[in-house]
């Protein structure tokens, strides 16, 4: 069992680490409103890939089963789940709950 707050914490922790690595203070101090991808975002495409790879690993460790965050359904949504921290958090909650049922 993992709550939305725990998932948000995972994301913010990973963004903090990435921000320190990439020297981007906006990522170190990320909030739910931080843009991840697209215009005015602080992550480039490889940064986003790194974040997703890290989060898949974190979730796998926490839950004990593997989670794949990028699939055709995620990529074809009108609003990309990777656009903002809160969107990503909600998407992860959805993925984890779907896998559970």
């Amino acid at each position: 069992m993992i709550t939305r707050t725990q998932i948000l914490t995972l994301i913010l922790n990973r963004l903090k680490m990435l921000g320190e690595e990439l020297h981007k203070p906006a990522l170190v101090e990320a909030t739910e409103q931080t843009r991840l991808f697209g215009d005015k975002a602080d992550l480039d495409s490889m940064g986003l890939v790194t974040l997703i790879a890290d989060l898949e690993y974190d979730l796998q460790k926490k839950l004990g089963w593997s989670v794949t965050l990028v699939d055709e359904k995620a990529m074809s949504r009108l609003t990309s789940p990777f656009r903002r921290v809160d969107f990503l958090t909600d998407y992860l909650v959805e993925v984890v709950n779907q896998k559970k049922t």
Binding site: M46, T50, A53, D54, Y57, Q60, S66
Partner: protein, 230 residues
């Protein structure tokens, strides 16, 4: 001790490369459909089909659970089919594309994520001189390896910033089961064209791969051939 994943270790080049790395002190994880004859304390076998995305992902997840870091991935699993283009069954072309291209794609994607987290790693995709030579009679096979070459170049571009090097290593006919159906005259002709009239032994191919494992001497995105390609 460095750690490597090699696909297609049940026989041929994959098995010989696994044995070489084990002798050089590496830990080796082998992905293959059939059990290998390799018996070594540092060899771990994962019996799986590399065309099965979820099987590959599960195997890699198991490895990452054990907190092992991976230095090297060699995408070697593959098959060939020699036939005139107009007589090649579509099913053969499809099966080859699944194994040679999609197999490499799935493994690269799963292990690539591990390497992105590590911020380092070397990925070697095995390719063939048949692509630059555009060998007649090998259309289906050549197309799959051309796709692998394209994958190598794009993966190199995308992963370079994460400390990951991706190269292709290409060979002419190597003395393995893969070429047993090819006539001697045809083999001689290909070997002549690449400046290796005596052909390529399994040991020579393995040594060529091992030389390129030294990351300082290689450029990401490059395709290196054992033999002369004009």
């Amino acid at each position: 001790m460095p750690n490597a994943i090699i696909t297609g270790t049940s026989r041929g080049l994959g098995r010989a490369l696994a044995e070489k790395l084990l002798n050089e002190g590496w830990n080796v994880w082998g992905f293959s459909r059939k059990a290998s004859l390799i018996k070594h304390a540092r060899f771990t076998e994962q019996l799986l089909d590399v065309t099965d995305e979820s099987a590959v992902q599960q195997a890699v997840n198991l490895m990452s659970n054990n907190a092992v870091t991976f230095d090297l991935l060699v995408n070697n699993a593959g098959a060939a089919s020699m036939n005139a283009l107009l007589l090649t069954p579509a099913k053969t072309a499809e099966a080859l594309m699944r194994l040679n291209y999609l197999g490499s794609f799935h493994t690269l994607q799963a292990v690539g994520k591990l390497m992105v987290r590590q911020r380092r790693g070397l990925i070697i995709n095995i390719t063939t001189v048949a692509v630059p030579l555009a060998l007649a009679g090998e259309a289906a096979y050549v197309a799959t390896k051309a796709a692998v070459d394209a994958l190598t170049k794009v993966a190199a571009q995308e992963l370079q910033s994460q400390g990951i090097t991706v190269i292709g290593l290409g060979f002419g006919p190597i003395e393995t089961d893969l070429i047993k159906a090819v006539g001697k005259e045809k083999l001689a002709l290909i070997n002549q064209r690449i400046g290796r009239p005596d052909g390529t032994t399994l040991n020579q191919a393995v040594d060529f791969i091992f030389e390129h494992v030294d990351m300082k001497s290689i450029t990401t995105g490059q395709l290196y051939y054992l033999g002369k390609i004009n």
